[in-house]
């Protein structure tokens, strides 16, 4: 295994990891504020990618306008889903909530395949420049770099949002204790809706970015499943943890795949490595790197 190959693995791992981080961020925002485990996170990503495709390619809208329209679409979708499906589920046991989001994911997936079919679609014209630059002797496509930078910006924006903005503080308060938040004049309902909106938007942007690199097809939702290793590693309710977890999972997945290919002659490790890591983390450090430890008292 050459250093070049290793570097390539690291770079593509970081790029994919940054997308994982974006989706994991969306997942964590919902979990933190509403305690809903969203199994449809990957479908948000997929819907975002397809809607942006529809605007850019099928309607010929310029990219920046299309991005804004996609964000707007994500917001509307999130509000509708939150109001119609998730609101009635407040107070139901965790298993019902898991099941309802799984059902939701099936519905979203089928709508997307009904509208756009199963074929791989490619953004045309490409959103980012196609040239490659050389980093430490390794050729790296510029779109990789753009993708990485944009998701990092996204993560930074939301960390600042949570730390300093009024809505962000209100969301954290709601996450901490809903009743107290309510009595301090925070509308918990609005916070719930807001967290779904942010989550859908962040994942949608992630979808546009990844769709731009790999092309989009109906198996994009697989990204949503990788979110679990990432968030568990980072700690389920930590924004920073989601970002780091996503990057680490992306890296580890690529590196383990590369190592097994060159030394053990074993292919396809990529699909399973994140889950093996997940099980190991759960056994050693169940609340992840930055997660809140749940302390139970009788």
């Amino acid at each position: 295994m050459t250093t070049q190959y290793l570097l390539q693995l690291v770079i593509s791992g970081l790029v994919v990891g940054s997308i994982y981080a974006a989706v994991a961020l969306g997942f964590t925002i919902i979990y933190k504020a509403t305690r809903v485990v969203n199994f449809a996170q990957g479908e948000f990503l997929m819907v975002g990618a397809y809607v942006c495709y529809a605007f850019v390619v099928q309607m010929g809208v310029p990219f920046y306008a299309a991005m804004l329209l996609t964000i707007l679409f994500g917001m509307v979708l999130a509000v509708i889903l939150e109001r119609l499906i998730l609101r009635p589920m407040i107070g139901e046991p965790i298993i019902s909530i898991i099941m309802v989001t799984i059902g939701l994911s099936l519905v979203l997936r089928s709508i997307v395949t009904a509208v756009w079919g199963n074929d791989i679609l490619v953004y045309e014209p490409k959103l980012f420049p196609q040239e490659t630059v050389s980093m430490a002797g390794v050729p790296v496509s510029l779109e990789f770099i753009w993708c990485f930078i944009l998701s990092m910006v996204l993560l930074a924006v939301f960390s600042v949002f949570f730390k300093y903005s009024k809505a962000g503080v209100a969301m954290r308060a709601t996450a901490f204790n809903q009743q107290v938040a309510q009595s301090m004049g925070i509308s918990v309902k609005h916070i719930f809706a807001l967290s779904w909106i942010i989550s859908a938007v962040v994942s949608g942007i992630g979808g546009v970015l990844i769709g731009n690199i790999n092309g989009i097809n109906s198996s994009l939702y697989h990204f949503g499943l990788k979110v679990f290793p990432a968030t568990i590693l980072g700690g389920l309710d930590s924004i920073l943890g989601a970002a780091l977890g996503g990057l680490i999972i992306g890296l580890l997945e690529n590196l383990s795949d590369g190592f097994c290919k060159s030394y053990l002659d074993l292919s396809g490790v990529k699909e399973v490595a994140p889950y093996v890591i997940l099980v190991i983390i759960l056994m050693i450090k169940p609340y992840g790197l930055f997660g809140t430890k749940e302390i139970e008292r009788v």
């Binding site: 485990v37 589920m89 898991i98 059902g103 074993l266 099980v279 009788v298």
Partner: protein, 348 residues
């Protein structure tokens, strides 16, 4: 005939599963009806019933784990696979008899379930759900890659069981084999939840700290629950493999796990009869949907493609609607119907 109160005079009467003569007669008729199914239904319909009976075993198993012990499992599909592959490997490649293969499949799956249940010692709720999701993907990966045992993507061809010279080759004869397993296992589950073990499961579910204070070893019972549940999954998976005469990895993907979870939620968590209802509902639902889409597609060919991709969506939508409007499942509705007729016509 209904009694207006409990008139049990002996301990034996008190522990009977079917307590009133009315229930016993009903159960007798149900059993007769089940035995008569192969004479009434043929071809595809019989195959659907066969699938339902196998699904009942799996759903009851999952309900023991999720409904009674409160441990969410998203890996039931993979445990099915472990059972199916074990039995297929033993019977097709090592020449062991089916009648040894099935219990062996159950035991191996129980072992696998307990291994993947180890995280449950420290985790609960959501964390456990995610751990079992990971086990689903890891096992699925093993099914595809461990080619010397699982045959990789080619799968394994298996045969139907035989006793002496008689081979249960037709669906009708194999149905009786499956039915026998199902009846025994459902009765076992019904009895299990009335024993110390079953009550311990429920105590662990309802409040595990209290359970521990009362002297119930939660680790032991959580692992045991994983073991029993996986045993059921293994047997169901093995029976399914022999029914299909072919075992391959696509039959045990995450979709299967989701369908089983949906069965017990729609049927009713913590209810044996609910698992049965759920299994019937979730097996019939896709068949009914595909009949409808075919009919629609035949009338209006232009939307045929659209209708097919909506099938999954409608499936998901029904799960969602069920959870919103009937969160306690079909078992709850069944109870209401029974109560209504018990008091009929004086419902107040």
């Amino acid at each position: 005939m209904h009694y207006c109160g409990d008139f049990r005079t002996s301990y034996e009467k008190d522990v009977e599963i079917f307590q009133t003569p009315f229930i016993k007669v009903c159960m007798g008729f149900l059993m007769l009806a089940l035995l008569a199914v192969p004479f009434l239904l043929k071809g595809e319909y019989l195959w659907i019933v066969l699938q339902i009976v196998i699904a009942v075993i799996g759903a009851v198993g999952l309900n023991i784990l999720t409904g009674f012990t409160g441990q969410i499992s998203l890996g039931q599909g993979a445990f099915f696979g472990v059972g199916a592959y074990t039995s297929a490997y033993l019977t097709a490649k090592m020449g062991v008899s089916f009648w040894v293969g099935i219990p062996a499949a159950g035991l191996v799956t129980a072992m696998a379930g307990m291994v993947f249940g180890v995280p449950s010692l420290r985790l609960k709720g959501l964390y456990l759900a995610i751990a079992t999701l990971a086990s689903q993907f890891i096992l699925e990966w093993i099914f595809v890659r461990w080619e010397s045992v699982t045959g990789g993507s080619y799968g394994i061809v298996v045969s139907r069981p035989a006793i002496g010279g008689f081979v249960f080759e037709s669906d009708a004869s194999y149905y009786y084999v499956v039915l026998a397993f199902a009846v025994v296992m459902v009765l076992f589950a019904t009895n299990l939840i009335r024993t110390r073990t079953g009550r311990a499961f429920m105590a662990v579910r309802d409040h595990y700290i209290s359970a521990e204070i009362m002297g119930i070893s939660i680790y032991k019972y959580r692992l045991l629950s994983f073991g029993i549940s996986s045993f059921y999954a293994g047997v169901a998976g093995a029976l399914f493999g022999h029914a299909l005469k072919f075992v391959s990895s696509e039959q045990f993907n995450i979709g299967v796990s989701i369908v089983y979870l949906a069965m017990i939620i729609i049927g009713g968590l913590g209810s044996i009869i609910g698992s049965v209802f759920g299994a019937i509902f979730m097996i019939l639902l896709p068949k009914v949907l595909s009949v409808i889409t075919e009919a629609v597609a035949a009338d209006i060919p232009s939307i045929a493609k659209l209708a097919i991709s909506f099938e999954q969506g409608v499936f998901g939508l029904i799960i969602v609607l069920f959870l919103i409007f009937e969160p306690d499942g079909l078992a709850h509705r069944w109870k209401l119907i029974k109560a209504y007729w018990k008091l009929y016509p004086f419902s107040y």
